[in-house]
């Protein structure tokens, strides 16, 4: 069975692209979230194998969402997707429980590498 992914990003463009990269690599995108709140709710509902999480999102940012998810599910596999210039936030996200990160703009190979490392 394909491994499942929840894609969290407030930009439709990014969600589509990340979804495409992962679908082409054989994953099944089971849900998308546009806000941190949605990310937490959908994680609880869908229990995906993997989450990709944007840092800057409306109504609860990505880092708080990571914190909320990891509180219940410390083993959640969350990959942070951050833009350049957010290194400090990435560190904070990892402390909150995120397992790895990729920096936008994405190289598809870099995304898949990180994903495989996480699920490996």
């Amino acid at each position: 069975m394909a491994q499942t992914v929840l894609v969290c990003d407030d930009a439709m463009f990014m969600r589509t692209m990340i979804g495409d990269i992962l679908t082409q690599a054989g994953f099944e995108v089971v849900g998308e979230a546009e806000t941190g709140d949605q990310a937490v709710a959908k994680y609880r509902q869908l229990k995906p194998d993997l989450v990709t999480m944007d840092i800057v999102m409306p109504s609860m940012g990505g880092i708080e969402a990571v914190r909320a998810i990891c509180k219940d599910s410390p083993d959640a596999k969350i990959l942070m997707c951050s833009a350049m210039g957010q290194q400090a936030l990435v560190v904070e996200a990892i402390q909150a429980g995120a397992k790895d990160f990729v920096v936008k703009p994405f190289q598809p190979s870099r995304v898949l590498e990180a994903v495989q490392r996480l699920l490996g």
Partner: protein, 530 residues
């Protein structure tokens, strides 16, 4: 990775971010002390930066990055929402807007060096603030004392989400009542009928009451417009005044929010294209100051919002000439009616102007206005007289909670299609101007129209052959299409539950509803079929 198939998505998403950025800027301009619009602006620029960097659009990524840095300084309270900051960000939004399309075509966009320099210089003036107590925030207006002398009653604040919940339940009651109605009709019993009738009127009253509780005064929408018009006038070297009428009118909160962008667009258009310059007006014997009137009027379950200007009117011949150039009308046709004018102006990327100004003329917008109002189930009309002015009228339903749908049967199932999309329901073959070929080609009123067979789409099986079938002719935005079905089952008012469709359902299922007989039916977004 082949990025070319993402360009359309990038463009649509990017325009959306810029539209939100503009709305946040306008709010911030009016309330420089608020930080909420700053957060929204930051996110809009940030999202655009990420997408642009991924697509390799260097200029857009660079500009959004600089705007983001400037906003960071504001968030750190090292800069305030001064005229200079807001003005420069407006310019940035405009430059980005102009740059989006060329970028997707791989062409050079506007020269951003001067603007980038200005953003950097302004960011460098930011002074690190001394640590200390946070600046006292002005109390929110809602904290003010109630004004009993105006309303004559006390107001309570309720979370809009709770009202939505109540409305949802009242709507379910309406549906349950319909269901009871069909049962009662089958078992004639005077006592049962009278009890059901009483229940019926109570439920109607309850539903009406909840709807009224969700209404918000239209002043909430109109209040910020006079300022926008004044600023626009100043930018364009014109004097313009906006008068508001019908401010006592109330409208569903959701509808109200959806109308902000379309109305701002129309205001911009009116000041930029509609009004003449002060000199021109004086020479024509008009008052130097241009006048816009924005009014609202209730017509039963509808609200009509009109924006009238006393400017030059739409240049009918100019529009016709451009339309001929675009190949949209025959060179030797009759004079364009007001409806024709609007249909042309609402075509994506149609513009009469050859140059683009800072405010409008880029051929984006009118199509967005029309499709937004349509998506609310409303419509737009235009009236214009050369030399005297132009009036746009937006008619929208008081609420969008209950929708009118056309119920159809296909492949053994029943489906609801929003009536606002259905231009005509007809039986192909019965009329000479609706012809369905055996190979599925469809001609409507002399034009080939793309046709989708709902039976095939729903069941995956073969469609009932034959050239005599019910066909719905649909229109949305500037597009159209036809949908072949098995049976037409009539119009109904239903409560639509929007849901996150499970992946097993096709993308064209947008919601579900319970029909009067208690059976569920899918609500379709047929536009996803074409």
């Amino acid at each position: 990775m082949d990025l070319s198939r993402y360009t359309a998505l990038f463009l649509a998403d990017g325009r959306d971010h810029l539209k939100r950025a503009t709305a946040h800027l306008l709010e911030w301009e009016e309330h420089p002390e608020r930080l909420l619009p700053v957060d929204g602006l930051f996110r809009a620029f940030h999202s655009l930066k990420s997408s642009a960097a991924t697509m390799g659009y260097v200029d857009i990524a660079a500009l959004t990055h600089l705007a983001e840095s400037l906003l960071e300084a504001v968030r750190r309270r090292e800069l305030t929402g001064s005229k200079a900051v807001v003005g420069l960000l407006f310019e940035t939004v405009d430059a980005l807007d102009r740059g989006l399309e060329p970028a997707t075509r791989g062409e050079p966009g506007p020269d951003i060096r001067a603007l980038a320099g200005a953003l950097e210089r302004l960011a460098s003036t930011a002074a690190p603030s001394a640590p200390g107590p946070v600046v006292a925030v002005k109390p929110a207006p809602a904290e003010r004392k109630p004004t009993p002398e105006r309303t004559g009653m006390r107001a309570v604040r309720v979370d809009p989400a709770r009202l939505d919940e109540l409305l949802q339940q009242a709507g379910e009651l309406v549906v349950a009542r319909n269901r009871l109605g069909t049962v009662v009709a089958r078992r004639p019993d005077p006592e049962l009928e009278s009890a059901a009738g009483q229940l019926d009127s109570l439920i109607r009253a309850l539903h009406g009451g909840v709807l009224r509780a969700r209404l918000a005064p239209i002043t909430e929408l109109f209040g910020r417009f006079p300022r926008i018009v004044r600023d626009l006038g100043a930018t364009l070297g014109k004097t313009a005044r906006l008068e508001l009428r019908g401010e006592g009118i109330e409208l569903d909160r959701t509808v109200l929010e959806e109308l902000v962008d379309p109305l701002i667009h129309l205001l911009r258009n009116a000041v930029d294209h509609g009004l003449e310059s002060a000199e021109e007006r004086t020479s024509l014997g008009k008052p130097a100051e241009g006048r816009l009137i924005l009014s609202a009027e209730r017509r039963r379950d509808w609200i009509a919002i009109r924006l009238a200007d006393d400017g030059r009117g739409v240049d009918r011949d100019g529009v016709r000439r451009r339309a001929v150039e675009y190949g949209l009308v025959e060179p030797a046709g009759a004079e364009l009616s007001d409806d024709d004018l609007l249909a042309l102006l609402a075509k994506p990327s149609f513009t009469v102007r050859r140059e683009v100004t800072a405010v409008s003329g880029r051929g984006v917008g009118m199509d967005a206005v029309v499709s937004k109002v349509r998506s609310l189930g409303g419509r737009v009309t235009l009236q214009t007289t050369r030399g005297q002015g132009t009036t746009f009228e937006l008619t929208v339903p008081l609420t969008t909670a209950i929708q009118r749908v056309l119920l159809v049967g296909a492949g053994g199932g029943r489906y609801a299609i929003p009536s606002r999309l259905v231009r005509e329901a007809t039986v192909a073959g019965r009329r000479s101007d609706a012809v369905l070929e055996t190979d599925g080609r469809f001609t409507f009123q002399g034009r080939p129209v793309p046709l989708v067979d709902l039976t095939t789409a729903a069941t995956g099986g073969p469609s009932p052959s034959g050239r005599r079938r019910p066909v719905l002719y649909l229109e949305w935005g500037a597009s159209d299409g036809a949908l072949a079905v098995d049976t037409l089952l009539g119009q109904h008012d239903v409560l639509v539950e929007r849901f996150e469709a499970p992946r097993t359902l096709p993308a064209w299922v947008s919601g579900a509803t319970i029909l009067a007989d208690g059976a569920p039916a899918f609500v379709l977004d047929p536009t996803a079929l074409f």
